[in-house]
Amino acid sequence: MTGVLTIDELTVDIGRPLVKGVSLDLHPGRIHGLAGESGSGKTLTSLAVLGLLPRQATTGGSVRLGDTELLRMGRRELNRIRGRRIAMVFQDPSSALHPQLTVGHQLTDHVRTHLGLNRSDARDHAVEMLERVAVPNAADALGRYPHQFSGGQRQRICIAIALACDPDVLLADEPTTALDVTVQAGILQLLRDLATERELAVLLVTHDLGVMSAIADDVAVMRDGRIVEAADRATIFAAPQHDYTRGLLAALPGSRLETGTHLEEDGA
């Protein structure tokens, strides 16, 4: 079965190969986790999907959204897909929002571009979106600026902006890493609910295996530009096959570190 977004043998080369043949299938309503340490190529993979790689990067393989090949698409066509059919949520909600524009402005702007709504319809739509992501006093919130919200609420607003055009695919790159744990829990619940209720295919990129275990349906573990293991959540956590996955899980808290282990640990 092929999914809504199919990544097939994707390679990314920036001076040297950094992603070396990654294949993933995203399905509606499912959250697909991409785990790995930084430098493993997981973020590059998600950037490649949106065509956001640096100019000097060369790509190979294919990324298909339904029947459309994204990798060799022109800038203008890609722009029509970005935000409309594939949306992205970033790690740092404070820098993902424009500090000088109201939340309402940022929420309605691209809705009007992509969906062709008029001003008042776009506004209603924005209020609806903010209510959905549980930002309190949604109607008032439209007139406020990003700095007037807490980090968790900003991330909720980012999610609302991402989902405003009702995309098929959501790429979430470390969406909760910059947040406090008590806030993180709420965002995770929101992502899970949205994926289910909107039939959204989510690619969740994170290094946090706890987050992965909480909401991902399928998990792929990346290392050095390759997927070393991919399975459903229960299998990955209960019966990891690959040594690297086992190592990652073993490194998680549970036992106090022994003195001196730091030297070996670096050789990941």
């Binding site: 920036i14 950094l18 340490e37 930084s38 430098g39 493993s40 050095d224 050789g267 990941a268």
Partner: protein, 310 residues
Amino acid sequence: MSAERGTGNRTDVLAAGWRTRLRWPRAWRSPLGILGAVIAVAWVLVAFTASWWVPFEPNAQVLPRLQEPGVDTLLGTDGTGRDIFSRLMTGATVTIPLALMLVVAAMVIGTVVGAVAGYFGRWIDETLMRITDLVMAFPTVILAMVVAASLGPSLFNAVIAAIVVSWPQYARVTRSLVLGLRGQNYVIAGRLLGRSPLKSLTVDILPNIVGPMLVLATLDIGAAILLLSGLSFLGLGAQPPTAEWGSMISSAIQNFDAWWLGVFPGLAILTVVAAFNFLGDALRDILDPTAEVARENQADRTSSATGAAA
């Protein structure tokens, strides 16, 4: 451990790669910068050597009066029979070294004031910056005129006047740079290690603002030349018969029909000011701190990528 070591080595190689591959091409990609550098260097060479090779004594009235540019006298002669070309080149020996001196002096004064104000803050900052504001509030040329007029018109006094009006902008820029750096972790760490404020300034802060200050100074050389020529034009700087561009233009007004009297000094000012501005712009691009940060992040990312690979 082995991975960390491997990473470091590669970062090193990478960093070196960025240096040679990225820095230079970026500079060369700015043709105006190259043009500016060539013209500026040429003028500076002229400024320091002209007295040995100009065809005529700049003040010698030995040629036919108001001769048009031609073979004998490259750029013509003026109303008293002096060779314009020789005077123009000699003018460079007057204006350019003085402009450089002016900029250096203004930069030193401004940097010291700004650094002290920014670093110590509070009432020191308030006092110094209000004085700076006061000086800045006067229109530059008017203030320079006041200084030059009260000290008496001479080239040296014009330079003093120009320094008085030029240092505040350096103070402002330095202060804001120092304010930004003062809270940096390495500055605080240095203080926690027992470094005195003065040492902290000279070791941790000033070396890190040299780049932007140099850019500002380069851009300012053009302005300094304009200011000096302007004061001379107004009769407050160089006095006749000294060959100076501003006063040459000024005296050209007496013979309005002889276009070459005013055009060539004007062109000289234009080329030298434009050259230093182009050079400054190119320098700014090369030394741009944000570009440096971006490069560093890039290196960070690639190095962690290699780290994982190792």
